[in-house]
Amino acid sequence: MGAIEEKSQQSLDYLHHKPSESIVEIMNIYGDEIKRLVFSYVNNEVDAEDVTQEVFVTVYQKLHTYQGDSSLKSWIYSIAINKSKDYLRSWHSRNQKLLNKIKNSGNLLVVSKETPEKETIKQDESDNLFEKIMDLPIKYREVIVLYYYKELSLKEISNILGQRLPTIQTRLFRARKKLKDLLLDEKEGYTWINN
């Protein structure tokens, strides 16, 4: 972690006057972290790589607009989230989702052939939780990821997502409830293929 992360005038000057050097440093610091964040949205390795590249190009292009009002991390996160959502709204992403739905058509609700005990043996509990998180709708998934795994406060999440704080609180509550329901359903032998 270098001076680039500090909210000082010196670091701002460096970001504004040496954007090419700054972006290399930013990629070194936040590259993996941003790609994981993007992956939590797009749920696809190849697409996550492409979107992450887009994120850092945009960061470079908009670096002169960063005034240090929020942390650099939050600012880059907001760009990454917007880019990820743009991708999810894109024709390519929708097409991919549709193809997946067609492949799994008729299997919307399937009864697991394996017993819960066997399933538990086969799959680690944490893996299961991760899968359930990734199966959540985006609006619930993102608050879970940002709050629990990116260590952002509810206020920061509210700022990044551009939503009111009560909305974020409600979403987090509902996201947890939904996760709990999914896990209970699974214990009862049902698996929801699509979210």
Binding site: V24, F39, E49, F56, Q61, L129, Y149, K177
Partner: protein, 263 residues
């Protein structure tokens, strides 16, 4: 649920890193973007150079027009002034409005005709002492001169060429008189006199009258009177004195006045 979520190592589950290839791609794209702004920097310079050049060119054109236009304007204004002067002198009004659909030569000839006619206009009587008296009735002067030649009242001319002898020559003189009279724009007083002399001239042409016909003296008398009436410098007839000498009419008048004063 909250505890389960907190215990989950989420990042470990996403076994992915931002690849070196991905980072290089970002750097390449940034370098491409860096080249574009340079081009963007040159474009405003080029545009501003173009604008400055255009403004300079426009300025030069405007300045050259400024140099040319006053001369044109002055010429035009002089012309219009002279026209206005002649208008004010003879009190006439005319229009030089140009029809764009007309042939340029036709327009120019029309203007010349209009201008000439105005200059030759026979107008109401103005005192001869008045400097505004119409000096331009050249046609009336020439018509009078032609009739003077025909009637033997222009000696010097007659000495070289002599009065017209043949019918054809007489006809040429009569046509010349008619042509000059038709050049005159007349109105108000003396209109009848001018119409009368034109009628007489046409009659003489039709009759092919010989030179000894009294109609020529009648034509000359009317033109003589009109010329003296309207022109500041009318044609002066030559006359033969009692002693046989041919002198201008004015000299004869002067001699007559002298004799009268001696008495």
């Amino acid at each position: 649920m909250d505890k389960q979520l907190r215990n989950l190592n989420f990042d470990d589950k996403i076994q992915t890193v931002f690849s070196d290839e991905g980072r290089q791609n970002v750097v390449k794209r940034i370098k491409k973007l860096e080249k574009k702004p340079r081009l963007k920097l040159y474009i405003p310079k080029f545009v501003s150079t173009l604008v400055v050049t255009g403004v300079l060119f426009l300025g030069i054109v405007l300045i050259s027009n400024e140099y040319n236009s006053p001369r044109e304007t002055n010429t035009g204004s002089h012309a219009s002034e002279s026209i206005n002067e002649s208008n004010s002198e003879d009190g006439s009004h005319y229009s030089l409005d140009v029809d764009n659909n007309k042939d340029p030569d036709e327009i120019i000839n029309g203007i010349i005709d209009e201008f000439s006619k105005d200059q030759l206009k026979v107008d109401a009587y103005v005192d001869r002492q008045d400097s505004t008296y119409n000096p331009y009735n050249y046609s009336l002067y020439m018509a009078h001169l032609d009739s003077a030649v025909m009637t033997g009242n222009y000696f010097y001319h007659s000495a070289f060429e002599g009065p017209p002898n043949t019918i054809e020559e007489i006809q040429l003189y009569l046509e010349s008189i008619l042509e000059h009279l038709n050049m005159i724009v007349y109105e108000e007083e003396s209109e009848e006199r001018i119409k009368e002399v034109i009628e007489l001239t046409n009659h003489a042409i039709e009759r092919k009258a010989n030179l000894d016909d009294p109609i020529y003296d009648e034509i000359h008398d009317i033109l003589h009177q009109l010329d003296e009436y309207y022109n500041m410098n009318p044609f002066i007839d030559d006359i033969t004195t009692e002693g046989g000498a041919v002198v201008p009419e004015k000299i004869r008048d002067f001699e007559a006045e002298a004799r009268e004063s001696k008495k």
